[in-house]
Symmetry: C2
Subunit: 207 residues, 2 copies
Amino acid sequence: KFPKTTIERLSYYFRALEDLSKRGIDTVSSEALGGKLNIKSSQIRKDLSYFGDFGKRGMGYDVKYLLKELKYILGLDREWSVVIVGAGHIGAAMANYDSFEKRGFNIAAIFDNDEKKIGKEINGTPILPYDNIDDFVKQNKIEMAIIAVPAAAAQAVADKLVESGVTAILNFAPVAVQLDENVRCLSVDLTTKLEALAYYMSYSQDK
Amino acid sequence: KFPKTTIERLSYYFRALEDLSKRGIDTVSSEALGGKLNIKSSQIRKDLSYFGDFGKRGMGYDVKYLLKELKYILGLDREWSVVIVGAGHIGAAMANYDSFEKRGFNIAAIFDNDEKKIGKEINGTPILPYDNIDDFVKQNKIEMAIIAVPAAAAQAVADKLVESGVTAILNFAPVAVQLDENVRCLSVDLTTKLEALAYYMSYSQDK
Ligand SMILES: NC(=O)c1ccc[n+]([C@@H]2O[C@H](COP(=O)([O-])OP(=O)(O)OC[C@H]3O[C@@H](n4cnc5c(N)ncnc54)[C@H](O)[C@@H]3O)[C@@H](O)[C@H]2O)c1
Ligand SMILES: NC(=O)c1ccc[n+]([C@@H]2O[C@H](COP(=O)([O-])OP(=O)(O)OC[C@H]3O[C@@H](n4cnc5c(N)ncnc54)[C@H](O)[C@@H]3O)[C@@H](O)[C@H]2O)c1
């Protein structure tokens, strides 16, 4: 097995290779890829080695071949239907973010329990009543959901999603939700990004 | 030096230790801390070893002592004033997120160029005209900023912030902004979180 961060780095390699392929570049060394992404070339070689033997020593990587392989490994060779629960600031920002669609993540619906929001749309995606989650997830074979509700509602929302068949959750609420083992859940905590910036700032001010 | 992810993990250790300290727990082993955070105990020992020798073999870590050390290392022993540029969905979600304040990140102001938003407030934080950034950052000694504007405006906004004295930026726009070497910039890309979920989903469906 390999660390969770390896997978997130694979996405960065995928994106950088896509960029190179668009510019007609056929091969790239781990050094050149590392230079573009600010990641050590030894880290890139190590990450890729978990998944196979992609580069020839001294020759670098074949961009098109590695792109195809990473697409398969990351499960991006298919589309994913995603629902969002919570049509507030975070939910709306996610529904508006066109980069998700470009990567094959289609926002199928947003659910909310606020009468004033139900029946509206965000970027063409309908806001449906919270109570319809069960039918909608089953009828549209939804596997993935984004939780964007206040912390107090997060556990109940997670339970409802799992009961209706969702097996992967991205959780924004600042609480750890308890889930079955077979459900994958990643949390987003943007405070850690600010704390990382604070570290770099205080470090450079010569602690 | 150590990988960027070590710093983000330090935040997770800090939070878990805070939780233990609130519950009156005086010592904790790297195994117990690892079990709580779903991180290997060897990773925890390795991360901490970059910063000092905190635990006695077989005795575990002293919670209060490690908490104080991590607070200093992460630069959380002080307050940080932060401005947000862009009072849209992301900007509003960040201004509303009370966890930032609890960690010492005070949102001082939000800037926008939309006449309809200027003069309003979000969670008590004023929305000021974009052209006031320079005076505001200099008068209030702001060091940190969050960019939450559309991709097309991100580079110009980053330049304006750096010119006025900001040295740390959290960028949400899906564009790599070019900055001076002495400015720290972290980007947020939530697509990598969905891609990580897609990987786990396709991995468990027995590739
Ligand atoms: N992780 C981070 O770094 C970060 C940053 C900002 C916000 N957040 C969190 O993200 C979440 C959403 O933030 P926001 O700014 O979008 O909040 P918001 O208040 O703008 O939106 C919440 C939405 O959820 C809906 N809702 C509430 N209870 C519900 C329920 N039981 N069922 C269905 N819908 C329900 C509300 O009607 C509202 O539309 C919050 O938990 C917030 O703390 C996290
Ligand atoms: N990284 C991710 O995963 C992720 C997810 C969602 C959104 N985003 C990005 O975050 C950014 C903000 O998203 P949003 O949903 O809040 O957008 P939004 O359109 O709701 O908000 C943008 C705000 O910026 C203001 N603005 C535009 N140009 C400006 C300028 N030159 N100076 C000052 N203010 C200006 C607008 O008036 C508006 O209030 C976008 O770039 C979006 O692509 C990123």
